[in-house]
């Protein structure tokens, strides 16, 4: 099962950066995100998988597809990238993969021996909003302020100006 998901992730992410039609790239990205949520289900983290499905696969991909439809013709194809940029990209990617894999495979990971925590919704909710040890209320509040700010920013950027700039 894991190898199925891993194959989907690798093949679709490779296709999503090499395909020449932008809408297909978005659909391959959707496949990658769905397979990732499958991995989370396999690891028994249902809440994380649900968040991945709703926010990434439901929200961000829909936003991206909307913006593609607003800014492109469907039949639009990219030109091929020029060869030096292609070689530079592949070189950077393969050198990075090599270095990171050598480091990962030569390191031995040690797991803790403490008893496993049950991950149901109540445990996640209490820890996320507690101010005790292992509580995460400060980053929670920070991210809510960040979300509010980015929402206001997106509205301000995207709205049309009233008095000037009517020549568009």
């Amino acid at each position: 099962m894991f190898y199925l998901f891993a194959g989907i992730i690798l093949i679709c992410s490779l296709l999503s950066i090499t395909t020449r039609r932008i809408l297909r790239a978005a659909v391959y990205l959707l496949c990658v995100l769905l397979a990732t949520s499958g991995l989370y289900f396999m690891l028994n983290y249902q809440f994380m998988a649900a968040v991945q499905l709703t926010l990434y696969a439901g929200g961000i991909v829909v936003l991206i597809i909307f913006s593609i439809l607003l800014t492109h013709h469907i039949t639009h194809r990219f030109k091929h990238p020029n060869i030096t940029k292609l070689l530079m990209g592949i070189g950077a990617g393969s050198i990075g993969i090599g270095l990171a894999l050598v480091t990962i495979l030569s390191h031995s990971f040690k797991a803790t021996t403490n008893p496993e925590l049950p991950v149901d919704m109540t445990v996640i909710g209490t820890q996320l909003l507690s101010t005790e040890k292992n509580g995460y209320v400060l980053p929670f509040e920070l991210i809510s302020i960040l979300l509010l700010a980015s929402m206001i920013a997106a509205i301000v950027i995207a709205k049309k100006e009233k008095n000037k700039n009517t020549e568009i």
Partner: protein, 105 residues
């Protein structure tokens, strides 16, 4: 070890995905596809967090919380970026990076 799969296999998958994202960010010349490459990178980092939490520290929930926060920040970033992209398109009729080289009209 969960279902007989060692930790390293997850890490190999997420590493390859990360560098595919980096490669796409360098190769592509379109703002929306660059945004998609960024999403790939963030997603692979998420996999790393969750897998480390599950395999190495199953008595705590830090990895899960940090990947939750990363998902939230990715959503905020995508919304602002798409607002910017649509605005750029409205002004310049084009979202290739080479053609977007003016800051002020």
């Amino acid at each position: 070890m969960i279902q007989g799969i060692p930790l390293e296999h997850f890490l190999i998958v997420s590493t390859i995905m990360f560098f595919i994202g980096v490669c796409g960010f360098i190769i592509r010349r379109n703002l929306i596809t660059m945004l998609m490459a960024t999403e790939l990178i963030l997603n692979s980092v998420n996999i790393n967090f969750v897998v480390f939490n599950r395999y190495l520290y199953p008595d705590q929930l830090q990895g899960q919380f940090f990947s939750l926060f990363i998902v939230g920040i990715a959503a905020a970033e995508a919304s602002v970026a798409i607002a910017l992209i649509i605005n750029i398109y409205r002004k310049m009729q084009n979202i290739e990076v080479e053609n977007v080289n003016e800051l002020k009209f």
